[in-house]
């Protein structure tokens, strides 16, 4: 299932996938895979993404 909330939160901060990837220390393809719903990130990566985008885990990853 696509993670549109992550995509919109990233877009709201005017960040590219590459910029978010660099900020959390993963590859652009990994961010792309998470947004497309092809990869379930670990809680560690979820937290890093949330901190970077100033969101909570619930806001980005809880269904």
């Amino acid at each position: 299932m696509k993670n549109l909330r992550l995509k919109s939160a990233r877009a709201a901060l005017d960040m590219s996938q590459q910029q978010l990837a660099d900020a959390v220390g993963v590859s652009r393809q990994t961010i792309n895979a998470i947004e497309k719903g092809d990869y379930n990130p670990t809680i560690k990566l979820c937290i890093a993404i949330c901190k970077t985008l100033n969101k909570t885990l619930d806001e980005l990853f809880w269904e």
Binding site: V26, S27, Q29, T30, A33, K44, L45
Partner: protein
């Protein structure tokens, strides 16, 4: 085919020097193979496919040797199996976007693959022209360069195709 002691020592020293250079590059942080969690997972799957490919190829090689008789040097047979396993490993990694580490640049890797592949293929062709590749109907160790060159160039082609498709997808 019998080889002189100097020939064998030369190969061993060459391998040791190669390993030493790679170890030094890692120590100096010139080479940094850090992957993210998705890539590590994908590479784990790729290792699995590579491992089973290696086992299958070794079995087929042993079987062919038993049925057909000696058709290549043992080291060449081993290299063929390793090349097949590496190709499977690399292909799976490439398709899953897990071939490059976080700090590697696609152009650098493509250039390196082109140079290594072409150089090995060139040496392989020269060996072939000199008639060293097949002696008394047996594939000799001189065929290894050609095998490595072909393997690297196949990996390069898969990488370039995947890279171009990825760029198109990123642009959409």
């Amino acid at each position: 085919m019998e080889h002189s002691l100097g020939y064998i020592v030369g190969i061993v020293v060459g391998i040791l020097v190669g390993v030493g250079i790679v170890a030094l590059l890692f120590k100096l942080k010139v080479m940094d193979l850090t992957f993210d969690e998705r890539q590590e997972r994908a590479r784990g799957q790729a290792y699995k496919y590579g491992f089973w490919t290696l086992l299958t190829c070794l079995l087929l090689y042993g079987f062919s040797d038993m049925v057909l008789g000696r058709w290549c040097d043992v080291l060449v047979g081993a290299m063929l199996c390793i090349a097949a396993a590496l190709m499977v490993f690399a292909s799976v990694c490439i398709v899953k976007d897990a071939y490059l580490s976080l700090k590697e640049k696609p152009r650098t890797v493509m250039t390196m693959l082109t140079v290594v592949g072409s150089l090995n293929l060139f040496i392989g062709v020269m060996n072939w022209k000199n008639g060293q590749v097949v002696e008394n109907g047996i594939l000799t160790f001189a065929a290894v360069n050609g095998i490595c060159g072909a393997m690297v160039l196949v990996i390069l082609v898969i990488y370039v195709v995947n890279y171009l498709l990825g760029r198109r997808e990123a642009g959409e």
